[in-house]
């Protein structure tokens, strides 16, 4: 049965634990992947927001300069209006570092000197933004805007140098994760601003940093993992729309710090999973044991039954079918016990029957000469006067002969009684037949019969027998049973004997109890008192056949006789139950 428990545990493992583990592992991997995706998406969202801020500032500046250029182109010769426009432009666009107004041929008309390297040539579709340049280590970008008149004719060119310090300010104000940094590079891969340095070195990272190369080669956005870093990049689209600048914003974070949440989540999930699994196994073992325990009990019970050992034991309890199986095995054990008892009784009955027949034959053969002996002894006694020396011997012979006749009579009576296994309707000898009697009448007759003997024994008989329904036993047989019980009580030394009757539950039988205040019958002897030749009396007073005869008589009538302890624990109580007629 121990194997059964392990097999149940194995089934539980295969059916529940293994799939749970598989699903759990897949869930952990999926969750880890999702969290990592979220980290990358978060980085992308972050640089989108930063890029939008950068785009907005630059686009606003560009549009303002374009509007100013168009205003200038409508009145190119108005010097006062031109100077006013420059002042307003410097005031409204604080990132303007320098401002130059040039003729279509590139000659300076007003404002600051033209920065070196600025191309004011044609084919710029109205203007452009160049790549980043560094002046005194500060990044600048040159914005070139064509000033066209109402008719679209080119009147001049506005060159504004924009201080890119705002890029650094925007990035520096960003709240970044541990170890993370944000980097903005121009189209040549030159860092314009970084979040971890005051001012970056104007050295291109193209060809040195794979993320920068990927960002510059891409036109949208993406992520890249490698060399222990998680990177997200995005092109600054509005810068690209300005034709000539295609910058990128890059977010980088060490992989161990970027995926710290994923790692923590995985670890916590694993711990919780292992604990849950252990609990599941523990509960599984507990329930497996609980489930298999009744089966173990059933197996043990079955083994005991098969081995012919005791079928006694506490009932096997269990849920559902197991409980039903336990009940069935208990019932089976009970039937087997009854059958065994029946078989034993049959064997004993056969043996007793053989003994009875033999005893009857012997008794019959002995009875005649014994009658002769008793007759001659009594005859000789009549001839012997009192005091004759032979008289004592003759009296002893007569008494012993009487006693022997009594024994022989008992044997003959027992032998004539039908065996329990025989049909009650078929009397073995015809002396006892099934009939009916009224218990009250029989009891009163018995009281009269035993009165002399009780007086001699200085015992009293109390009768509490109300008139009741007739019972299905011959009056003679019931009388013999009750006389036997009362005489036994008197011989045992009882001083108070009582006979009482009452209806059994359901009124299907009548219970007749004979109680006494004698020494009672030891518990160890109670099971044997109805066996033939078992007696606790002295050899000269008991034959050991009286109660055996009583039991047979009651059994033939379909009743039972039991012995127990009197209600007050003093004396014996015989309980005769006989079906009503």
């Amino acid at each position: 049965m121990r194997g059964l428990r392990w097999r149940v545990l194995l089934v539980l493992s295969l059916a529940a634990v293994v799939p749970t583990v598989i699903v759990g592992v897949l869930a952990i991997l999926r969750a880890r992947h999702d969290v990592q995706d979220e980290v990358q998406r978060g980085a992308l969202a972050h640089i989108r927001a930063l890029g939008a801020a950068l785009d907005g500032t630059l686009q606003d500046s560009r549009r303002t300069v374009e509007l100013a250029a168009a205003t200038w182109a409508d009145a190119p010769d108005d010097v006062r209006a031109r100077q006013l426009l420059q002042r307003r432009l410097r005031r409204e666009v604080p990132i303007v570092k320098s401002l130059s107004l040039l003729s279509p041929d590139g000659a300076l008309i007003d404002g600051d000197p033209v920065p070196a390297g600025v191309d004011i040539g044609s084919h710029s579709f109205g203007g452009y933004i160049g790549d980043a340049v560094f002046v005194d280590e500060r990044p600048l970008v040159h914005l070139v805007v064509q000033a066209r008149s109402r008719t679209g004719e080119l009147i001049g060119v506005v060159v504004a140098s924009l201080d890119l310090g705002f890029v650094h300010d925007v990035i520096a104000a960003a709240r970044l994760g541990p170890g993370a940094r944000v980097l903005v590079v121009d189209g040549a891969g030159v860092p314009v601003a970084t979040s971890d340095m005051a001012w970056p070195s104007p050295t291109s990272l193209a060809g040195k940093d794979p993320v920068v190369d990927r960002a510059l080669a891409s036109t949208v956005e993406g992520t890249l993992s490698g060399n222990g870093m998680v990177s997200a990049y995005r092109n600054l689209s509005s810068y690209q729309s300005l034709r000539g600048v295609r910058w990128a914003i890059i977010h980088q974070q060490p992989e161990d710090q970027a995926y710290a949440l994923a790692r923590t989540t995985t670890r916590d999930t694993l711990i919780i999973g292992i604990v849950a699994l252990a609990l599941a196994l523990a509960f599984g073992a507990y329930f497996a044991t609980r489930l298999t325990r009744p089966l173990s009990d059933l197996a043990r019970r079955a083994d005991a039954i098969a081995a012919g050992q005791s079928t006694e034991g506490p009932p096997v309890r269990g849920p559902g079918e197991i409980g039903e199986l336990g009940n069935a095995i208990d019932e089976m054990a009970k039937r087997i016990a009854e059958r065994a008892e029946l078989a034993a009784a049959l064997a004993r009955g056969d043996r007793l029957a053989s003994v009875g027949v033999m005893s009857a034959q012997v008794a019959h053969e002995i009875n005649n000469p014994l009658t002769t002996v008793l007759g001659y002894a009594k005859l000789l006694l009549e001839d012997k006067p009192d005091g004759h020396p032979d008289r004592n011997g003759l009296e002893l012979i007569a008494e012993e002969a009487e006693r022997m006749k009594k024994i022989i009579g008992g044997l003959l009576e027992y032998a004539r009684a039908p065996r329990q296994s025989e049909p009650a309707t078929v009397p073995a000898t015809g002396s006892i037949a099934i009939g009916s009697s009224e218990p009250a009448a029989v009891v009163r007759h018995v009281a009269a019969l035993v009165a002399p003997q009780l007086r001699k024994a200085k015992a009293s008989l109390v009768v509490e027998v109300p008139d009741q329904r007739a019972v299905s036993i011959e009056a003679h047989a019931l009388q013999q049973v009750l006389v036997n019980l009362v005489q036994n009580a008197a011989q045992a030394g009882a001083t108070r004997i009582a006979i009482a009757t009452k209806p059994a539950p359901g009124a299907i039988a009548t219970i007749i109890t004979v109680t006494d205040d004698g020494p009672g019958i030891p518990a160890a002897d109670r099971a044997r008192v109805f066996d033939p030749f078992f007696t606790t009396k002295a050899a000269e007073t008991g034959t050991g056949l009286g109660l055996a005869v009583c039991k047979h008589l009651v059994a033939v009538a379909g009743g039972t006789i039991e012995v127990g302890e009197a209600a007050d624990s003093h004396g014996a109580e015989f309980r005769v139950t006989i079906p009503v007629a």
Binding site: G207, V220, R243
Partner: protein, 360 residues
Amino acid sequence: MRCLALVALIACGHSGPAPAPIKFLHTFSPDETELFNAIMVEQGLPVEAKLAPFARGQQVIGEMLRAGKNCPDLIRIDATWLPGLAPQLAPAPAGNEWLPEAAVSDVAMPETIDGLVVVRDAAAPAPASGSVGDLVAAARAAKHAERKFPLGLRVDGYWLVPWLRAHGGELQPAGLGEIGDTRATDALAEFAHLFGDVTAPPPPSGEEAPEELRLWTSHDVAYWVTGPWQIGALKDRERLVVSSLAGAPRGGQLLVVPKCARDPAAGWQLARVLTSVEVSKRFAEAFATVPTRKDALAASPALVQQIYAALQTAKPLPRSPVTPLLFDDLNPALAAVVSGDATADEAIAGVRRGWARLTR
């Protein structure tokens, strides 16, 4: 010893320097760039690709090639830039069977063919001919209460070219000068007059492409003058019919190797990959790009072949170094007339002065 020799051999085999990436300067759109990057990964070609700003491409690339430093191995350029860049370009290898409409040159490998065509809603009747007059007539006939502006046009000098050619002009300073009477002015006035008549007023600058796409998708436009670069973005391709437009400009994209290239052979190797049937077909399927090789065209979708057929009647712009620069002055002038800020006469006069500076 043999083992040691083997180990040394293996070690040496893996210790060689990685091949230098092919430096490629291109003009792909964002989506095209993504496809290009994916193809390069599939092909296993190490390429260091960078985007050239289209608007200033000729100038930026010209300055780069004249400086002769950090030159790319391969450059993708617009066909109109070729005359200005040709002196700095290396001869192109011969070999492929190019389509006659491709801008074949001794110093370039043609990659795509493009130009303006008419995209018509299949439910709308076809114009009587490919002329701009019949196109406008068909559009005008398609006007009704819920479709006030059936013709899709853009305020751009490139779109003006068919109307200019219809009046006998050409997109070149001399062309304008020769027709200094009223033909260019008439073309500009006629073109500008269409906006608010059969063509929707123009959107703000920079919003042209998405607005045109929106108008087509919402069925507000039945006849749309556009190019393959926008047809490729259309989802309901079964709805459209592509036809030719008389006098439409035709161009394309070219692959060139500068003389200053570090590895010209690698550049041409990449060019051959980009013009291969397989890659051309993928670009054609994704973006309706018209390939330049006959076998690649045969392998392309039916829509692409329709576009190619419509472009056969289109005519390239004059091959001059100043041609791409002409739009700088023409576009603002056209916008000024369309918006009503200037008359066609005033605008053409300004364009003429601007173009005179270019040819000085």
